[in-house]
């Protein structure tokens, strides 16, 4: 046990510090100097080229949007903690907080350079499936007529990466080792997400083909959802989740914090979707941004409402957890197409279908005996696919169904396959799943030696 811990611990250290180390040793001071220079420039010479108030506004708005997206981390943490057992709450919170820590660091050192090689001067990205622009932000060639700074660009993208990563923690909750999870998290934010992200947002091949995914139904949520599915499959269900073929529900330990999490996520989505317009100073841009805000609102609402009514109709009582998932489903669904869908389409088609997909998806996973404690796959995987395909279905003028289908398959498929492999490797290394005894005791005590709720008159 101790030995295993050390072993797994080493593997993490390696995974964690590999990148840091390289940089630190090889180029740190060099970089630091350039940096310092750069900073000096920025700060010391106010009379440098002034791009006007519009530039300031673009930066400000994109920054605020990025901060809202950042806050979604809190939403995921609450949703996942609330929908899981109290004996695994510390573990979930740990994974979520490490996702953002590991995520932004790796996305700074590696991810950004992989996802946006074009910004670093790499040519013909439209024909490349992989490219690397460089470490950190120094190589970023910001043009003179830029509408926002490399910094805010990075920040907005970094929180997206962390979002993709943290989706998975919900699907693998209650049974995955910390060590294995940290490695997964590093790989996803450092490599997988940026690679497939580059195909579309980095101006890569899929983008060249006209694949359309405005704010990342596939690029972000699809990747997270399918990575989660892969994890859930390799890990297998929690003990007692399926008893001789029968599905045994394991209700969450705190719906209040789960509901809070959903509200936080909805709040953050107003940064996620509208922010993805990336330009706000022209009237056309800001109008488009506001259009996105409205479609996002309507799809979330109808997704939640339809999922609720369906659960009521099908199961006899309105199921809060389904309604909450439905809201998230509507949000994921509209993410790809919030710019092109009309308000009526958002309210009457995108949201409702997403709401229905939640119910359908949850039941389907049950049928295949796949244990996804928080419904991460139905929400992010299925509704992510729906969002992309809906463009081909309803707005062929924007992008054809074929192109949408191909793009979605490539991105989600890439995440699914690579993650199947990664999780299998972790399994082979013996750092994937905790022992049966540890699982029954709960990961909080076995992995962290603490309990989420100390509270009892007797103990305090």
């Amino acid at each position: 046990m101790k030995f295993l811990l050390d072993r797994s611990f080493r593997s993490v250290l390696i995974a964690m510090f590999l990148s840091l180390a390289t940089v630190a040793i090889t180029g740190d001071y060099a970089l630091a100097q350039e940096e310092a220079a750069e900073v000096a420039e920025e700060v010391a010479e106010p009379e440098a080229v002034d791009l006007g108030v519009g530039y300031a506004l673009d930066n400000a708005f994109l920054f605020i949007a990025a901060v809202m997206v950042f806050f979604m981390q809190a939403g995921f943490a609450m949703v996942e903690a609330g929908f899981n057992s109290s004996k695994n709450a510390v573990n979930i919170l740990f994974k979520n907080s490490m996702d953002i820590c590991v995520g932004v660091l790796l996305f700074y050192f590696i991810g950004f350079g992989i996802m946006y090689p074009g910004c670093y001067g790499v040519e013909e990205v439209e024909s490349k499936w992989f490219a690397f622009g460089g470490v950190g932000l120094d190589g970023y060639e910001s043009v003179d007529d830029r509408t926002f700074s490399p910094e805010v660009d990075w920040m907005f993208q970094a929180v997206f990466a962390a979002t993709a990563a943290t989706i998975v923690s919900g699907a693998v909750a209650g049974r995955m080792k910390v060590a294995g999870y940290l490695i997964y998290s590093a790989v996803l934010t450092g490599f997988i997400y940026p690679i497939s992200g580059m195909w579309k947002w980095g101006g890569g091949p899929l983008d060249a083909e006209g694949f359309s995914d405005f704010a990342g139904s596939a690029v972000v949520h699809g990747v997270g959802g399918f990575a989660g599915l892969a994890g859930a499959i390799i890990l297998g269900p929690r003990i007692g989740r399926f008893v001789n073929g029968k599905s045994v529900p394991m209700p969450g330990h705190s719906l209040p914090i789960a509901a809070l999490g959903v509200f936080i996520l909805w709040f953050g989505w107003y940064g996620f979707n509208p922010g993805s317009q990336l330009a706000f100073q022209s009237t056309a841009d800001i109008d488009a941004t506001m259009h996105v805000a409205v479609t996002t609102t309507l799809a979330a609402a109808s997704g939640g409402l339809v999922a609720t009514l369906l659960s009521w109709f099908m199961f006899g009582k309105p199921d809060l957890s389904m309604g909450l998932n439905g809201i998230l489903g509507g949000l994921v669904g509209i993410t790809a197409c919030c710019d092109v869908m009309s308000y009526n389409e958002a309210a009457l088609i995108i949201g409702p279908v997403a709401g229905a997909l939640i119910i359908f998806g949850v039941m389907m996973l049950d049928k295949f005996q796949i244990d996804d404690p928080v419904g991460a796959f139905p929400v992010h995987g299925l509704c992510g696919v729906w969002g992309c395909l809906s463009i081909g279905i309803l707005h062929g003028d924007v992008s054809s169904f074929g192109v949408q289908l191909k793009g979605t398959l490539f991105i989600c498929g890439f995440a699914f396959v690579t993650m199947l492999i990664l999780f299998s490797v972790l399994k082979g290394m013996g750092i994937l799943r905790v022992s049966e005894a540890e699982e029954q005791k709960g990961l909080d005590v076995s992995e962290h030696g603490m309990q989420a709720y100390g509270g009892s008159a007797a103990t305090m």
Partner: protein, 115 residues
């Protein structure tokens, strides 16, 4: 002396306490428990799956009484704890255990007068 243990419906606690104080039984200890009995746990549907909440929330009363208080206490609990006149599955049980001694921590008194 007896120790009376009663498992009742949470919603009935107030009525039972009222009935008990009528017979001057004012000291008791209660705790939250989960019951599993004849009453088939309500079958609910959670995320589309049948789930039998067969561990139902109950409240357990613990009352130490002198022998002459046993019957009144039992009657009071039955009276206060029964749903409607005919009672309902899930209304619970009362267990009467023999008790050798009772000590009042405050004073150290022992036996019947310590109850």
């Amino acid at each position: 002396m007896k120790l009376i243990i009663a498992i009742i419906q949470p919603g009935k606690l107030e009525d039972v306490k009222a009935a008990l104080s009528k017979v001057e039984v004012v000291r008791l200890t209660i705790m939250d428990v989960q019951g599993f009995g004849r009453q088939k746990g309500q079958t609910e549907v959670y995320r589309g799956r049948e789930i039998t909440i067969n561990l139902l929330r109950k409240v357990q009363l613990q009352i130490a009484v002198n022998d002459d208080f046993v019957e009144p206490t039992i009657d009071a609990i039955v009276e206060g704890g029964r749903t409607g006149d005919s009672g309902q599955i899930g209304d619970g049980k009362i267990f009467v255990l023999p008790m050798d001694d009772c000590i009042r921590i405050r004073t150290g008194e022992r036996g019947p007068e310590a109850i």
